[in-house]
Symmetry: C2
């Protein structure tokens, strides 16, 4: 990576730094098929970020997540009371870091300044990072909420060079979400895809500069 | 509808006027689970229209469909040869109208000028409408390709008032795709959702003005 002159690393949050395992767990309390419920909720949440961005009708990620939950409950024929909805939503405030993340981040932070760049609201991101003890490793916590549009809009990615005071190519952007890898590469970052599941890459843009299967591999690759 | 002063009707094409049944049929030749293959292809095709629009990296719907097919084949572990890919893609040129459409369109066309407003390329739309004998009912065939961005961008919907020389609210926009209903309503059309499957409505915007389960119900509603 030295030849790529990377001088800082920005990470996607949900699905990359943290698993949304706590959310899946919370779904078990309301849905017989919790995995399907959670998958539908997550897919709808993502769809709403795309649609709202394209329609120019932004609302923040907490609100979008609530609306996606409302749709999902209806689709599954579940009537959730206020308490159930609250508990499901609050699971987003205590996501679980992937197992190797806590050990890998300090090693990365020793060499590069680190940032989070996420669709999540500031409140969601701060809560998640503090809850999991990861907050001290990140110099910047950057949210799409600052520009009122979602990834993969270049406006979101453009926040990182501005905050980090680095050029696009000097930032290694790390994500597990393939749409995010596409958007980041299209924007002009140096990009690492953490492909935990061996998914095929999307054939609609340039390939990421680096593909790894975990944070441990990332540490080796940038050392 | 008279009180809404509707003076023209614009239809979404794929999933609304025509079923993509021919595509599902063609999938049977290559995939053991043709329904799952087709569903993944369609979902990826849609995702790519969202992503390309948000990234500002437009390519036309034929190209996007080919790329979605490439991803889907890889995801299903299928190596398709050039002839198989050609046959799958060509199924998009001969979609099947929903059963009641051929009888309903002339009744609607007798009262209102009709348009198609679709993400499809001009070639795809012309071929599909001529193949199915529906072309004569439409005064306008309008494609997102004219503005190089996809639904639900207001730029696409904005083509209809311009071509039809009507105000937004004077146009009844008809779609079976809920994201399209959202986008059209957000743009300012009078909107009819053809909900063939009894799906829940998305809770992120104003409701459509009219919900029907088929073209027959639409004919009754606007007569």
């Amino acid at each position: 990576m030295a030849t790529l002159r990377v001088k800082g690393i920005a990470f996607d949050m949900y699905g990359t730094v943290v698993d949304v395992g706590a959310v899946a767990e919370a779904c078990k309390e309301v849905a017989p098929d919790a995995a399907a419920f959670n998958a539908q909720w997550r897919a709808k949440q993502l769809e709403y970020t795309f649609l709202r961005s394209l329609m120019g009708k932004y609302q923040d990620f907490w609100k979008v997540s609530e609306q996606a939950l409302q749709f999902t409950a209806q689709r599954f024929g579940l009537e959730l009371n206020a308490e159930q909805r609250r508990r499901l939503m609050e699971a987003w405030l205590r996501p679980t870091p992937y197992p190797e993340v806590a050990a890998a981040l300090p090693r990365l932070a020793a060499r590069y300044p680190l940032a989070v760049l996420s669709n999540g609201t500031r409140k969601m991101l701060q809560a998640g990072l503090e809850q999991s003890g990861l907050r001290p490793h990140f110099r910047w916590v950057i949210t799409a909420d600052q520009v009122k549009v979602y990834k993969p809009s270049p406006k979101v990615y453009g926040l990182a060079p501005r905050h980090m005071k680095l050029k696009k190519r000097q930032i290694l952007f790390v994500s597990s979400n393939s749409f995010d890898v596409l958007g980041a590469k299209s924007f002009g970052f140096t990009v690492c895809w953490i492909n935990r599941t061996g998914a095929p890459s999307d054939p609609i843009g340039p390939l990421p500069d680096l593909v790894v299967s975990s944070f441990d591999e990332l540490v080796v690759a940038v050392s």
